[in-house]
Symmetry: C2
Subunit: 267 residues, 2 copies
């Protein structure tokens, strides 16, 4: 009943992203799932879904017939009825999609200040996400890992030793500064936002890709791993999603587990 | 007279960014200059300005006494009077600052769709900006270029051969898709937006860092370099700024001219 109501009252959101992996599409999925808002995950839900993604990012496209500009890379969000003259609106770039959706699905906090901070923290988590990707592709994203393995070993060392503590320490401080309102459970204000789901997913990816490193460091960030990380995954909507087969396992996407790139000893 | 009026009617915006270089602060400066909105460039305008930046990003900070969260990295924007209970609001992350300012200073287009696309294109230009940075720091942003020069040569080769044409081709297609409204001068709609100033600055940085590569490629992107690039720098506000000493020259920031990283022959 509740689910039917959602379908009727929300626009028919369509997520356009590669099938089979969490990737950057996962940040959009988590926002919808946390908000309890239905969406169509086009490439995962249709046989020829990947065709839509390839069309979307065609190098010949100057935009679609609904007046939308070309898309640089997935994810994109298509919203029938919300574009020009009642046509479909298409938005690309993860933070832009989340910023657009935030208000509409109740994940952008209260007021202008919270809205801005939620976007800021999200961008910071996505920077960390990009840096995690670059540990296995420091030279060229279009080439194989095996062809840039030497450089990856160096990049991953710096990432583990300098970047991970810098980012984790930052999010720990954000939680601490918001502790009175957020109780360590929310980065901004007193309720869940898309900054929380975004930071949470990046942490889960780091745990997959760098399990030894995270094991050694988790204890340093009490609020982040002791409270926040455990709390977000228990949120209504997210809990059910994470237990479902809609949550794709990490494999060979942004987060990859190459043991040689992880910490070699936890002693 | 007009300048005085601006000071009285706009909040006293304060840009917090490293002095002496364009860097990521330049995207905020260009937006203010293009809009004709006054702002204080704190570190460039005061003797001990850099102290404010160091305070802002202190690794001990859990936020300021006005209730703002900590800042991960500059730039940040401080707006006295716009925070909680009339205190100062502080926002960090370039796209978050531009998104906040866009509507207020008239650089975010008309309507929700244009607003979203302007943020999307801006994020894409900032991705290109980051990739340009990584050509001279592919392994560790905290180490010297000289200590990662071998890797930089490889990274820069891929950047020049794969990434530059991918991004420039994309922006050319955006301009083409919007040609009816934008005449090749604007990426979205029929007037200047912060996407235009952001893409423009990245192009100017690429010209500084990779002059041979750009010289060889410019002809392939007729709208981007034939119309857009020349038009944006003539916009009222920007033209005066670019001729002033407020526009800092590129040097050793995001965009650096290492001849060995550029194309070695234009034949």
């Amino acid at each position: 009943m509740a689910a039917n109501k959602k379908v009727r009252t929300q626009p028919p959101y369509e997520l356009l992203y590669w099938p089979g992996i969490p990737g950057r599409g996962e940040f959009i999925r988590l926002a919808f799932e946390a908000a309890g808002v239905s969406y169509k995950d086009v490439a995962n839900e249709s046989e020829d879904g990947v065709k839509h993604i390839l069309e979307l990012i065609s190098q010949d496209s100057t935009g679609d017939s609904d007046g939308n500009p070309p898309t640089f890379a997935p994810p994109a969000l298509r919203i029938p009825g919300e574009g020009k003259d009642g046509k479909a609106l298409v938005i690309y770039q993860t933070p832009s999609i989340l910023s657009y959706l935030g208000d509409k699905i109740g994940l952008a906090g209260d007021g202008e200040a919270e809205k801005a901070w939620i976007l800021s923290h999200t961008l910071t988590a996505l920077d960390l996400n990009n840096e995690a990707h670059d540990t296995h592709h420091p030279i060229a994203s279009s080439k194989y890992y095996e062809d840039q393995k030497e450089e990856s070993l160096k990049k991953a060392k710096d990432f583990r030793e300098s970047r991970i503590p810098k980012f984790l320490g930052f999010f720990e401080r954000v939680l601490k500064g918001n502790q009175e309102q957020g109780n360590g459970k929310y980065l901004v204000g007193s309720k869940l936002s898309y900054a929380d789901t975004t930071v949470w997913h990046v942490l889960s990816g780091l745990e997959f890709a760098f399990p030894q490193e995270l094991k050694a460091r988790k204890g340093d960030y009490e609020l982040l791993f002791g409270t926040f990380y455990e709390s977000v995954k228990e949120q209504s909507g997210l809990k059910e999603y994470l237990a479902s087969d809609r949550r794709k396992p990490f494999s060979m996407g942004v987060f990859r587990h190459y043991p040689e790139l992880d910490r070699q000893s936890t002693s």
